[in-house]
Each structure stands twice: as structure tokens, then as C-alpha cells.
Amino acid sequence: MAKTIGQEFVKGLWEEIPPFRLVLGLCPTLAVTKSVENGIGMGVATTFVLVCANMLVSILSGVIPSKIRIACFIIIIATFVTVVELMMQAYAYQLFLNLGIFIPLIVVNCIVLGRSEAFASKNKLVPSLADGLGIGLGYTLSLTVISAVRESLGTGKLMGAQVFPSSFEPFAFMVEAPGAFICLGLLLCIMNIIGKK
């Protein structure tokens, strides 16, 4: 527990960056990374839920009986997911349409529940906030990277701007399901190579 707030924050960006180091939350990772926009949107939504749920769980951890803690965490998380859902409908409707059922599915993203249980329920408010923010931003970062790879290879464009010369024939399959799996598998492999000391 000698970690400072800063370290708690930073670890999410590299040491425990999901979904590479913590191989969790794969479904949205694969599903929404067709475009960078969606990737970032999903990342931000997850970060919001993570931070809020972490904070609330760390505040309430004294009150919640341990036997039903998972149920309580689920309620808390589901509440924030619904908040995100409503806010997104109100302010970013296009993104809401793009992400579709993956927004309500943040509730079953193991990263969120995992952090609540593993970290927030045992730590004070500020470290929990830092942890949530760190992991959330790490997740956003990963999603951005994956979606950047997939979008650029799959469509030849990135955020609408052409990144490959027009002679480049996009690998259409990169934006399809098989591309998602293979892309993530190879990125995981690259992370393994980099991470090896």
C-alpha cells in the first residue's frame, strides 16, 4: 500500500492497462472499435462509470454487508450506466446509436465490477478515484489504438481523413468480426514482446 495517488493513476496506463495486461472487457473492445470515434466514445463512457462507481463504492463500502456486496455493486454500476445512457441520448445521440446495446452492456464489463471489488471496496475515496481514472483512461487509450489500427487498415481513413494513398485497397475484413479478433490477438502479442523484460 505504499503506492502514491500518482502511482495508482499511472498503473492503469501501463502496468495494468486493460485489456492487454488485464485481459478483461473484451466484448466492447472488439465490438465498438470499428472507428476511432466509437472507440473513444466507449472508452469515455466506461471511464465515467468506472470513476463514479469506484467513488461511490469506496464511500459505501462500510455500509454494504459483504454477502450481498456484489449485488450492491451491480446496482451502483447499473445506475451509473443508465446515467451514461440517458446523458448520451440527450447529448450525443449519434454515438448512442453507433454503440447500441454495448452501452447497457458496460454493466457486465468485468473491468468495472473487478475494480469496484478489487480496489474501491478496500481503499479510500481519492485512491479509488485515481484508480478508476487511470484504468478508465488506459482502457480508452487501448480502445483508441485498436480502433485506429482497424479503421485505418479497414477503410484507409482515420477520423474521416485519408491516411493511406487512395491506391491502397482497404482490408475490408478488418472492420468485420474476424479482423477484430485477429487484430486484438496480434496487438496482444506485440504487448507481450514489449512487456518482456
Partner: protein
């Protein structure tokens, strides 16, 4: 037993708190969400009809009860003069219900324009109704009240080639719009006056 009661109480309190918070949030954002939904779902259809309107017809709307249903009416203001409303009707197309937005001049009871909101038609055939302006233009200027039919059925509308079913469904929807308009014509006229750009 005590423990069990505590568990249930905590669960109940937490879930009802969450319900309350979400309910409040929903109330607060409801209007905006409705706007967003209409803007993204009906918006494009309305805009394509009311291209020259001074106001935002999606925002300027009222609802009336027709039969048992609530129906939204979008008001278009031309030169500070609210003179047209648009509303949606449905008819069964080739691939299920098809939504058609019909705009009516409240002063002359003539159709201003017709556009499709939602459909599930066969791509390349029925689905071309989205872009087939020639087909849709046929309705403009016709009185709203009355039966609209394709030529095969003894009407005046030329069907899209190869997409008779879709064309018929459009006619049917427009005819239904006429029925509705007839029922609530006076109410519409009263309501429209409130919107003065």
C-alpha cells in the same frame, strides 16, 4: 435472521435510491432526449420536406391524441407564418412497417412533401425510395384528404419500377395521413397559431 433482514434492507434502500436518482434524471433529460430522438430519427425526413423553413420544425412541435395514440406534429414556419405541419404515418411495406412523414399546408390542405423515416425494404429495389425524389414529388400539391393510389390500382401515382409494394405502402400511408388530418384538422389549426417563429 438479523443479517438477512439487513441484507434485504440495504438492497432495497440502494435500489430504490437508484430508482429515484434515475427517475429524476430521466425527468430532467426527457425533453432533450425526445428532441434528440426526433432529430436523429425523424429529423432527416422532416428537414428534407421543410428545407426552407425559418424555424427548427423538430423543436417546434405539439402532440395531439388521435384515436388512442399520441402523435407528434412538427410545425414549419415560413416568413414568420406557421403554415405547415408534418406528421408520421405507417403502412405495411415489403419488409414490415414503413414510416412515412407527410407534410401538409394547413391553409390549403395540400401536401407539401412526403419522405420516408423508417423502412425495411429490399436494398436496391424498395429501399431506393429513400432517394427517389421523382416518386415522392408526385404527392406534392395534391389534396391531403382522399385516397392516394398507384396507377395499377386506378390512382394517379406512378409506381417506382419494380417496387410496386413499396409504392403502394407509401400511398396507403399518405392516405392514412389524410384520415388523421381530417379528424384533427381543427385542433391542428388551433395549435399551429401558437408557433410564430
Amino acid at each position: 435472521m438479523r443479517e438477512m433482514i439487513k441484507m434485504v434492507v440495504v438492497l432495497v434502500v440502494l435500489s430504490s435510491l437508484s430508482g429515484g436518482v434515475l427517475g429524476a434524471l430521466k425527468n430532467a433529460t426527457e425533453e432533450r432526449i425526445d428532441n434528440q430522438v426526433l432529430k436523429f430519427v425523424k429529423g432527416p425526413a422532416i428537414e428534407s420536406i421543410f428545407k426552407e423553413a425559418d424555424n427548427d420544425p423538430v423543436a417546434d412541435r405539439f402532440s395531439l391524441t388521435v384515436g388512442e395514440q399520441e402523435k407528434n406534429f412538427f410545425v414549419a414556419v415560413y416568413d414568420g407564418n406557421p403554415k405547415a405541419v408534418a406528421f408520421e404515418t405507417f403502412a405495411s411495406g415489403f419488409g414490415g412497417d414503413m414510416g412515412v412523414m407527410v407534410a401538409v399546408d394547413v391553409e390549403t390542405d395540400e401536401i407539401i412533401g412526403v419522405s420516408v423515416t423508417t423502412h425495411n425494404e429490399t436494398p436496391g429495389i424498395g429501399a431506393t425510395i429513400e432517394t427517389n425524389e421523382d416518386f415522392k414529388k408526385q404527392f406534392s400539391g395534391k389534396p391531403i384528404i382522399g385516397d392516394h393510389k398507384v396507377k395499377d390500382d386506378g390512382g394517379e401515382i406512378t409506381a417506382m419500377s419494380g417496387a410496386t409494394v413499396t409504392s403502394r405502402a407509401t400511398c396507403k400511408a399518405v392516405s392514412r395521413a389524410g384520415d388523421i388530418y381530417e379528424q384533427v384538422k381543427s385542433q391542428i389549426r388551433d395549435q399551429v397559431k401558437n408557433f410564430t417563429g
